[in-house]
């Protein structure tokens, strides 16, 4: 039985408990033993993305300490998992560039290898090929950028090669689910962490444009593997009273209905 240390992003913990619970249900349904280490808070991405390395570092250190002991670390967020896998290196004292001797914090390389975003854990580690879920709705998949272009959970439209996508692969297992076709399949929603408030005008316009694309494509339920993008988009949708429901992909796969 795979033993999973559950990594729940801070804002999911505080604002979207259902997404966390759906993640637990899914992992358990597919045979995992799930533990939620209480000491966890935030991966440190907001600080790191603002350039405040000193403020992000202690959070990265805590993360390694807390999650180091699990067989797998799984989180329902491409962005936060990308932070751990791709950006902890420099926070945890592994120098880039000139010094490649690898003065790596013990356990970090191991942590990097065993930390997964939920969808990729389901498709690549647990090899899920049936979900026994009926979801008879037109679903629009928002490709969250960090999952897409950092973790490569799907092929990005810029890179030439065969198309693939782990979230799409899972959604297609749901009976009756129809994926909508977007004009711009993987344009950013404009959330971008602190960008959402620093560049409020551009951020909201980007969000409005995504929503329009989805409405045009006939999307009834908008989903993604990052709740942060959906928080931003849902904020716009609710303000403008647009006919779109927003659900994290874990909720759909766990059997929730809109």
């Amino acid at each position: 039985m795979p033993q999973v240390g559950l990594f729940i992003p801070c804002y999911v913990d505080q604002l979207y408990p259902r997404v966390g619970m759906a993640t637990v249900e899914l992992l358990e349904r597919f045979g995992c033993e799930v533990e939620f280490p209480e000491g966890q808070t935030c991966c440190g991405q907001p600080m790191a993305n603002t350039g405040c390395t000193a403020e992000a570092r202690p959070l990265a250190e805590r993360f390694l300490e807390i999650f180091g002991r699990y067989e797998y670390v799984v989180g329902p967020s491409g962005s936060c998992v990308a932070m751990v896998r791709h950006h902890y290196e420099e926070l945890l004292g592994v120098s880039s560039g000139s010094d490649s001797s690898g003065s790596c914090r013990p356990g970090f390389e191991d942590l990097k290898k065993k930390t997964f975003e939920l969808c990729e854990f389901l498709t690549d580690v647990l090899k899920v090929d049936r979900v026994d879920i009926r979801f008879p709705y037109k679903v629009g998949l928002h490709q969250s950028c960090h999952g897409l272009r950092e973790l490569r959970l799907a092929s990005s439209s810029e890179i030439m090669g065969p198309a693939h996508g782990k979230a799409e692969q899972l959604l297609k297992l749901c009976e009756g689910l129809e994926l909508t076709r977007l004009e711009r399949p993987d344009e950013c929603c404009g959330f971008g962490g602190t960008f959402a408030v620093n560049e409020e005008a551009v951020s909201c316009l980007m969000g409005h444009d995504r929503i329009r694309d989805h409405l045009h494509a006939g999307t009834e339920v908008l989903t993604a593997n990052d709740m942060s993008c959906l928080m931003h988009l849902e904020g716009l949708i609710r303000r403008d009273k647009k006919p779109l429901r927003v659900m994290h992909i874990a909720e759909i796969l766990a059997g929730d209905k809109p």
Binding site: Q14, G192, V202
Partner: protein, 454 residues
């Protein structure tokens, strides 16, 4: 002015912003179609990045090889440490030849050095002969894009501008008609020019020759009639061998506009018979970038503009919102290297979506470099104090799980009961156009705990 404020102004004109976004997205989709036709596209990108990395690893040697070979071909080679020296060298060459009228083909380097105003101050007429460049020159504006300098102009804007300056019919906005008018106007300038100045797309170390890519043939016209040709180039434009050229030519036009190749790829090897060719090699901060492990790869840039066309922020804020010679993702890396305090908002004018990195034909990790610039800006003490303190506070709370839980608990208890005006006001940028999430009664960790107890 910071990027966010300029962007907000740009967005005020919603229909124009939509048009700007869609126009550039159209260029991006053309690029996608062109790239898809080459099964070897990703291999080409890999190869180009490898050639550039190799070139940068011994740039000095290649530059000297280029200089020696260019001299053998009869060119005069000048070295300029900065923009000021570049402008002085060009002015001296022009003055010593008694030049009064100069035609230029597109050169972002001379934009970077602000050459035009310098020459005009010394009584030399400068005419930019690229159509887009001529439009912004007549409008007395800087280019808003490095490949499509007048992309922010609608055809009606160009019609009004040409009516004023070139005497076209009032209200005429037919692109064919306007292009013909510009062509007639520019032919006169070409005929009367005493010298031609061009940029350089690729300078080849092993031959001493260089290549200029245009779609209008204006570089060829500009340097074919006068006997004096000045070519100005940043030192990063060097490639080692002629054999490398094919890799870059195939990537450049496809990435820039979705064309298989630019209409003109003109090769120059020494001066025309009885004429003079001067090549000015310009550093202007590039060796500083070359020294840096973090930012060296930004010198790979071949100025195709693909990162601008794909950037969701650039498309919705316009080139001028960057207040820099090179806007967009690559400009937001290069400009702070010139003056970090002036351009401190640019690395933050980015949602870190990474589309620029994936589109870049020479594989510059643009969004990671933008992130690295944010750290630089923080390290140099250039972050606004509000940002510094909010991050310090957040970190202090997040380091202490009990404090974090308590803060979340009180937020969930209090916020839902606050009157709307206390949440949605001018201090809450999130809530200007967006609702806050509906605060749940319990956090995930509370739910998880009580579920276990059941």
């Amino acid at each position: 002015m910071k990027h966010a404020a300029s962007a907000e102004l740009f967005i005020l004109d919603a229909p124009r912003t939509k048009w700007h976004d869609e126009t550039l997205w159209f260029v991006r989709t053309k690029r996608d179609r062109a790239a898809r036709q080459l099964p070897e596209w990703e291999t080409l990108r890999e190869t180009a990045a490898a050639i550039k990395a190799h070139t940068m690893s011994r740039l000095g040697d290649f530059l000297e090889q280029f200089e020696a070979n260019a001299k053998k071909l009869g060119a005069v080679v000048h070295w300029a440490a900065d923009a000021e020296e570049h402008n002085r060298i060009v002015l001296e060459i022009l003055q010593s030849h008694g030049v009064k009228k100069l035609v230029k083909s597109k050169s972002m380097l001379t934009e970077e050095c602000h050459l035009n105003p310098h020459l005009e101050r010394h009584g030399i007429e400068v005419v930019d002969s690229d159509l887009g460049e001529r439009i912004v020159q007549l409008a007395k504006e800087p280019p808003s894009h490095i490949v499509l300098p007048a992309i922010h102009f609608k055809k009606e804007d160009v019609g009004a501008l040409f009516h004023k300056h070139l005497g076209t019919d009032a209200g005429a906005s037919d692109p064919q008609y306007l292009a013909e008018a510009a062509r007639g106007h520019l032919r006169g300038k070409f005929m009367a020019a005493d010298a031609g100045l061009t940029g350089v797309n690729f300078a080849i170390a092993e031959t001493g020759g260089f290549v200029i890519c245009t779609n209008e043939g204006n570089a060829d016209l500009g340097v074919s009639l006068p006997k004096l040709h000045i070519a100005c180039m940043g030192i990063e434009k060097i490639i080692p061998r002629t054999a490398d050229l094919g890799v870059f030519l195939r990537l450049l036009a496809r990435s820039a506009t979705g064309q298989p190749i630019t209409t003109y790829s003109s090769h120059f090897h020494g001066p025309v018979a009885g004429g003079e060719m001067h090549i000015v090699l310009v550093d202007n901060g590039r060796t500083g970038i070359l020294k840096s492990d973090e930012f060296r790869r930004s010198l790979n840039c071949i100025r195709c503009g693909a990162c601008m066309n794909t950037c969701p922020v650039y498309r919705r804020s316009g080139g001028h919102s960057y207040h820099a010679t090179v806007p967009g993702p690559i400009g937001s890396i290069l400009s702070p290297a010139q003056d970090a305090a002036k351009h401190d908002s640019l690395p933050f004018a980015c949602s870190l979506c990474g589309s620029c990195t994936d589109v870049c034909p020479v594989k510059i990790d643009l969004h990671h470099q933008l992130l690295t610039w944010r750290k630089e800006i923080a390290d140099r003490g250039l972050l606004p104090r509000t940002k510094v303190w909010s991050m310090k506070l957040a970190s202090a709370v997040l380091k202490r799980p009990r404090l974090y839980r308590l803060a979340g608990f009180f937020a969930r208890k209090i916020v839902p009961h606050l009157p709307r005006f206390m949440i949605y006001n001018r201090f809450n940028a999130w809530g200007k156009q967006r609702e806050l999430p509906e605060f749940p009664k319990e956090s995930f960790r509370q739910q998880f705990k009580s579920r276990k107890r059941q």
